[in-house]
Symmetry: C2
Subunit: 201 residues, 2 copies
């Protein structure tokens, strides 16, 4: 018997269930085509009840995108302050490339799709980039309020990574092996930090 | 006497006039708030006649955004194949930073605004990035079909530039001088090309 339809879920559980159904659906269609009717049907609830949890379809889509971003971030290993920063960077980048490569359609639809210009999505992207930037800075022993030019360079490197990886995913590898891409991303971070330190000198 | 209202313009002139009025309006409001009624009034024509030149409001907005991107690109000096690549890079980057700094509101509304996720806008951004990438590659003596990893690194550098300059414009300089930003962008390109060549080795 289905655990969805007739089971009485707490409001938190129901909300989480609806969002989880939404992120699942992202693997087969872009976020703006995730239909609240389909989600309500899959959860065995009425369309009206879904709108009890999310005021608008837009709110629901933003909640799904936020959950997808959180899931992506949760796949990055937590840096160990005592460990080797460079080795940890390589492990994180490798895990992230493999994650987006195996979630190509949802990743591209979120970052390049029709909804990507939406103010709430822009805020979510900014928040995600800031989280990644803070984690990289931390991994290299910098404070988030460290030298402005280094913070800006690492922030820009996140843009570099997004852009190269998006191009790579869209172009189906464009003749570049996964390990060569990984090495480019890793070397580029080190050389961008060095460039920023040279400017600060 | 106004040259707009009663003057008989050729279809090409009228179209160009409407687009020019649209790009002017970008300095005071985001593109999605550029109203076709205001544009028609400024040109002294009817709303219906405007729709004779642009099938939809969306088509008009895309034409305005395209003209703004072309204007931005036209401010980049043309590289001289016999000149010093590095010096030309510095001149181009400096001209571009000054251009976007003095067109801050329209630039940010185009690249980060509500319309930025629109498929036609994404195509326009891709086209702009490809043009800039080709020009940078050319300035450094590479062919657009040069080593894939170098092309990808330069493409990613364009993303790095967009991201750092957008952050800089939004944060009102975030304590970084214009010349320090310029130096970071310049050094970052050289070190990213070097990183790509190291990967290819």
């Amino acid at each position: 018997m289905s655990t969805t339809g007739r089971t009485r879920l707490s409001p938190e559980e129901r909300r989480a269930q609806l969002v989880a159904l939404g992120t699942e659906m992202l693997s087969t269609r872009p976020i703006d085509e995730v239909s609240v009717d389909d989600i309500a049907a899959a959860a065995g609830i009425s369309r009206g009840l879904l709108f009890h949890y999310f005021a608008t379809k837009h709110d629901f889509h933003v909640a799904v995108a936020t959950a997808a971003a959180e899931e992506m971030l949760s796949h990055l290993p937590i840096p160990d302050p005592g460990g080797d920063g460079l080795e940890q960077l390589r492990a994180s980048l490798g895990a992230w490339i493999d994650y987006v490569d195996s979630h190509r359609a949802p990743y591209l639809s979120l970052v390049r799709g029709a909804m990507s210009g939406d103010p709430a999505m822009q805020t979510l992207f900014e928040w995600t980039r800031a989280r990644v930037t803070a984690r990289v800075l931390e991994g290299f022993g910098y404070q988030p309020d460290g030298p402005a030019i280094v913070v800006l360079a690492v922030r820009g490197w996140v843009g570099f990574v997004e852009d190269t990886v998006t191009t790579w995913l869209q172009g189906d590898g464009i003749g570049i092996e996964r390990d060569a891409l990984l090495e480019l991303l890793e070397r580029s971070l080190l050389s961008l930090i060095r460039s920023a330190l040279d400017v600060a000198r």
